[in-house]
């Protein structure tokens, strides 16, 4: 759209709008409402329903306001008798076969057809013939119920599926009055963004399975909140009735969600009121976890931690977690560790990701919508930060951008794109070659087997052409991170101008915020190194300490120390390490060896079952505070939506624990904000937190050592690659009754060639084994799997892939079907 302005007069009101603006939008600006059904500001105009017909002077016939761009001097009339008759006529046609079962229809009360009929329709029907009947209550997909009779064929759902979700699953079948909404092959409508069609549907044809018949819109108490499902931090509105969370809808935020939600964010909410939620603290007595009062539990925690500290010093204590908390809570947790427990052993990282945001090449989510080149490094945005993928897909489908994926996991896109598949650990070698090529080297460093130097040259040519380059990386392997930065710097140094934006989807929703708040060993809030005398001084004064603990251990270090018996006490907050940490055995050993383990979580997770004290934490609905998402954007939640019930918010628990430890801390949101101010941290709605310093990636290793495959497979073995899946995970998802229908099954994904070579078929039961460890799964073929590897979702409670301790060479055997008794 150009910036040239045109003048248009609508019902006598004159307005100047940019050239190319659609008539409906121009009318909105002067406060004139033109009724629409098929038009939606986020979809391409279609002109299907004819509801928006208006009269334009000098035009022989009425025109559709939703497809007509304004021109200079246009004079429009929306209130004439003709327009009113046309609207009445359109509504009469739409209602011809409409069942008018508003009383049983979930849309009743927020239905465009109801509202517009009330405003513009005829009072009665002239229809005497029986209505056309179509299927009702059709299960369109796992979350969506379709009523074909109520559909007015605006095609918003179909257009969304093509234009935004870029899935092309939904189609319109048959003709005329017999039109039906269906999927292309009759398959269930299933992808990561199906829920959005419920909001788009102007009538009650597409409704939510989970919300079905639960409430009317006027019953609902609506509370704005931030989705805590992943690190995108979409803006949502929570709808409660009788204190129960009944649905989640998006609030359009151009900086994050762009008005869309993924199905996990939209439908995973029932865990909040799950019967399995912990409502009372548990303490281990004679080997059993028994419910106790809050004061008893806190006394126990304080007493044991204090005893360990007196006997072995603060270094014998460790705190892990905080990546799911608010910024206030993360800050208080590290303060609790450093000032109350006297330990520098704090880390929020629970799954092997090292960084969730770097200060170099800062990127914003919105950059993805403008980028012309995407570089994906070991990253599956669709599975870790789904809403980002909507922007990427659109960029690819509209031929605005090109994409190259490098890594041991590759995404799947319909549009042609570049792919460089390697074994785990080899990504860094590819990037080193890329960096060298970008820096103009004649001779490229050694490339992993199967990667052609020509591919690297092509990639250089592609990157050279890019004006705006968005890079996504999973933040796990430090060597990959270092070489990636090296490559990006080399790219920056090339002739021509371009902007480079690096985004790292966080493993946890608030990884980036937790890191900034000092939940990292060696870094105080604001990424200030613990060794910095000036910050030490400020904090000592602020916290009233004589001595600040130095750089402590990271999660891996703490687990190793606990397993060896050096670390005696562990405090795990919202961290289900038994399932998320790459080395499951180490976690089990550490938790068994540690003298005293406290777990703070919503549910009795795999980790909590091994604890000595379990403190029940409240879900996000009971919290107010600030969140930071993957690009560092701070978003505030002003009001908690629910009371914590028998559980307590993490903030309240940290405060109570500090007081039980005999400290006179004030731990309100306001006091913490004052401490931030004293430390010079700018945390407020809309602020951008800086990224982490690159030192987090560690010192540059010997080029020869890094970048080679971490494991080699013998004959007949495959390399196991743990892979992210949106519906895997044992946290809130495993305890959510609404998500059971989509939760990832224990499956192993093979390249079709490998599957054939192993003599296996789709659906065969297989066992993956390496040494002692073995996991039972079901074989699936997936074309995006790199030959020679087998992918297994991370964090499946039924088949914890972390038994293998990360990438490993595994033997695949077909399981003999169990004999059913």
């Amino acid at each position: 759209m150009s910036q040239e302005l045109v003048t248009v007069t609508i019902d006598g009101r004159t307005v100047q709008v940019p050239k190319g603006t659609l008539l409906v939008e121009a009318a909105k600006q002067v406060g004139i409402h033109i009724p629409v059904f098929c038009y939606h500001p986020k979809l391409d105009p279609a002109g299907l329903c004819r509801m928006c017909l208006v009269q334009v002077e000098k035009m022989p016939k009425p025109v559709t306001a939703c497809t007509t761009p304004v021109t200079d001097g246009m004079v429009v009339h929306t209130q004439t008798q003709l327009v009113s008759d046309l609207r009445k006529g359109v509504l009469e046609f739409l209602l011809l076969n409409h069942p008018l079962d508003c009383p049983v229809c979930d849309k009743g009360g927020e239905c465009d057809l109801q509202d517009l009929t009330f405003a513009y329709g005829a009072g009665t029907s002239r229809l005497v013939d029986p209505k056309e009947h179509k299927p009702k209550a059709v299960d369109l997909g796992p979350f969506i119920v379709l009523d074909e009779e109520r559909c007015i064929l605006c095609r918003r759902c179909v257009r969304y599926d093509h234009e935004v979700a870029c899935e092309t699953q939904l189609v319109v079948e048959e003709r005329g009055h017999h039109n039906l909404i269906a999927t292309a092959k009759g398959q269930p409508y299933e992808h990561h963004f199906t829920g959005n069609v419920i909001d788009l549907c102007p009538v009650g044809a597409l409704t939510s399975e989970l919300y079905r018949f639960k409430a009317r819109p006027w019953d609902l108490v609506k509370v704005p909140a931030i989705c805590t499902g992943c690190s995108v931090g979409c803006s949502v509105e929570l709808h409660f009735r009788h204190g129960r969370l009944l649905r989640v809808i998006p609030r359009d935020n151009p900086a994050t969600d762009g008005g869309w939600l993924c199905d996990r964010g939209r439908f995973q909410y029932q865990y909040v009121q799950s019967e399995e939620r912990l409502t009372q603290p548990l303490v281990r007595r004679n080997g059993e976890l028994v419910p106790v009062s809050w004061s008893e539990a806190l006394d126990e925690v304080a007493r044991r931690f204090r005893a360990i500290r007196e006997q072995h010093g603060g270094e014998a204590l460790g705190v892990i977690g905080g990546g799911r908390l608010t910024l206030e809570e993360a800050y208080l947790l590290q303060k609790l560790a450093r000032a109350a427990l006297g330990t520098g052993n704090v880390d929020h990282r629970v799954s092997g990701q090292v960084v969730a945001g770097l200060s170099q090449f800062p990127g914003r989510i919105a950059d993805l919508s403008e980028a012309d080149t995407y570089l994906l490094v070991d990253c599956l945005p669709l599975e870790t930060a789904p809403v980002l993928d909507i922007r990427i897909r659109r960029g690819l489908e509209r031929r605005r951008a090109r994409l190259v994926a490098i890594g041991s996991v590759l995404p799947r896109y319909r549009v042609r794109h570049g792919r460089i598949g390697v074994r785990p650990g080899e990504t860094a070698a590819v990037l080193r070659a890329l960096a060298a090529a970008l820096a103009g080297a004649k001779e490229l460093p050694a490339l992993p087997a199967g990667v052609d130097p020509e591919t690297i040259r092509e990639l250089v040519a592609l990157l050279d052409k890019g004006q705006k380059i968005a890079v996504l990386w999973d933040g796990r392997d430090p060597a990959t991170g270092r070489t990636l930065l090296e490559a990006l710097r080399a790219l920056q140094g090339r002739p021509g101008s371009r902007s480079i934006h690096l985004l790292i989807p966080g493993e946890q929703p608030m990884s980036r915020g937790a890191a900034y708040m000092g939940l990292l060993p060696g870094y105080l809030p604001g990424y200030k190194p613990v060794t910095l005398a000036q910050v030490q001084e400020t904090l000592r004064r602020l916290w009233g300490l004589r001595q600040l603990p130095g750089k402590g251990l990271d999660t891996a270090g703490m687990l190793a120390a606990a397993a060896e018996g050096r670390l005696k006490g562990l405090y795990l907050v919202g961290a289900n390490l038994a399932l998320t940490w790459p080395d499951g055995d180490l976690v089990r050993k550490a938790l068994a060896q540690a003298e005293f383990v406290v777990v703070q979580d919503l549910f009795l997770t795999e980790t909590a079952r091994m604890a000595d004290v379990v403190l029940p934490a409240a879900p996000f609905t009971a919290k107010a505070g600030h969140y930071a998402n993957l690009d560092g954007l701070v978003q505030a939640v002003a009001q908690p939506a629910q009371s914590p019930g028998g559980a307590q918010t993490d903030l309240a628990i940290f405060g109570a624990l500090a007081r039980t430890l005999g400290l006179e801390w004030k731990t309100g949101v306001g006091e913490i904000a004052r401490e931030w101010q004293a430390l010079g941290l700018k945390v407020a709605e809309g602020a951008l937190l800086p990224g982490a310093p690159a030192d987090l990636l560690g010192p540059a290793a010997e080029p020869a050592a890094a970048g080679t495959a971490t494991v080699r497979a013998q004959d007949g073995e495959l390399i196991l690659v743990p892979v992210d899946r949106l519906y895997a995970g044992g946290g809130t998802l495993a305890f959510d009754p609404g998500m059971a229908r989509v939760a990832n099954r224990p499956e192993a994904y093979f390249h079709p060639e490998d599957l054939r070579r192993l003599g296996l078929a789709e659906g065969d039961p297989v066992t993956l084994s390496a040494g002692e460890a073995a996991v039972d799964l079901v074989a699936r073929a997936a074309a995006e799997v790199i030959p020679g590897t087998v992918q297994v979702p991370r964090g499946l409670p039924q088949a914890p892939v972390n038994r293998f301790g990360g990438a490993a060479a595994v033997r695949v055997t077909r399981r003999v079907a169990e004999v059913k008794a």
């Binding site: 069942p99 008018l100 079962d101 508003c102 009383p103 049983v104 009743g108 029986p130 209505k131 009947h133 299927p135 009702k136 209550a137 059709v138 299960d139 369109l140 119920v145 379709l146 269906a182 999927t183 092959k185 009759g186 398959q187 269930p188 409508y189 079905r212 018949f213 639960k214 409430a215 009317r216 006027w218 019953d219």
Partner: protein, 165 residues
């Protein structure tokens, strides 16, 4: 003196006159005063002539009520054992008769003509809870003359699967 006598005579006169007038006192509770056709007493949820509940759990009575006396929670019918025609029925239905001002708005709002206010007005009880009437207490005992409008609420046969090409 004369004054006093006239006063007594007048009083006795009134007594005599009233004695021969028709009686207005009723022997309540044995005898009850006739009520207007449109009298608004306790609520009743009617049932169709085939025995299905007329309430579809639409909540319109709840939103119409100026006294917030009604709570409706709907649910999906079990196709094998439907409570009402169509997909949806009133799973929970409560009227707090202590809040109700018997305005009849709920009856007017009901799109299925299910809800109506009966002639019953003897609504005393010993506790407040007892005056929060539940669905079982409100459901009519006998079927009404209403027929199921099958064009609007066709019999619910359960969820359908998408038909393949």
């Amino acid at each position: 003196m004369a004054n006093m006598l006239t006063a007594i005579a007048k009083g006795l006169g009134t007594t005599l006159r009233v004695m021969f007038k028709p009686k207005v006192t009723l022997e309540y509770p044995e005898v009850k005063k006739p009520r207007s056709q449109r009298f608004r007493g306790r609520h009743e949820l009617r049932i169709y002539e085939n025995g299905l509940e007329m309430c579809v759990g639409c909540e319109l009575c709840q939103v119409a009520c100026p006294a917030h006396a009604i709570t409706v929670i709907a649910a999906e019918n079990d196709p094998n054992n439907p409570r009402s025609p169509g997909e949806r029925y009133g799973y929970k239905y409560q009227v707090d008769l202590l809040r109700c001002i018997f305005c009849g708005y709920c009856e007017e709002a009901c799109p299925t003509e299910c809800l109506h206010l009966t002639q019953e007005f003897e609504l005393a009880a010993f506790s407040r809870e007892a005056l929060v009437y539940q669905k079982e207490q409100l459901l009519a005992r006998a079927p009404s003359h209403f027929k199921v409008p099958e064009n609007v609420y066709p019999p619910y046969t359960g969820r359908k699967v998408l038909v393949a090409e």
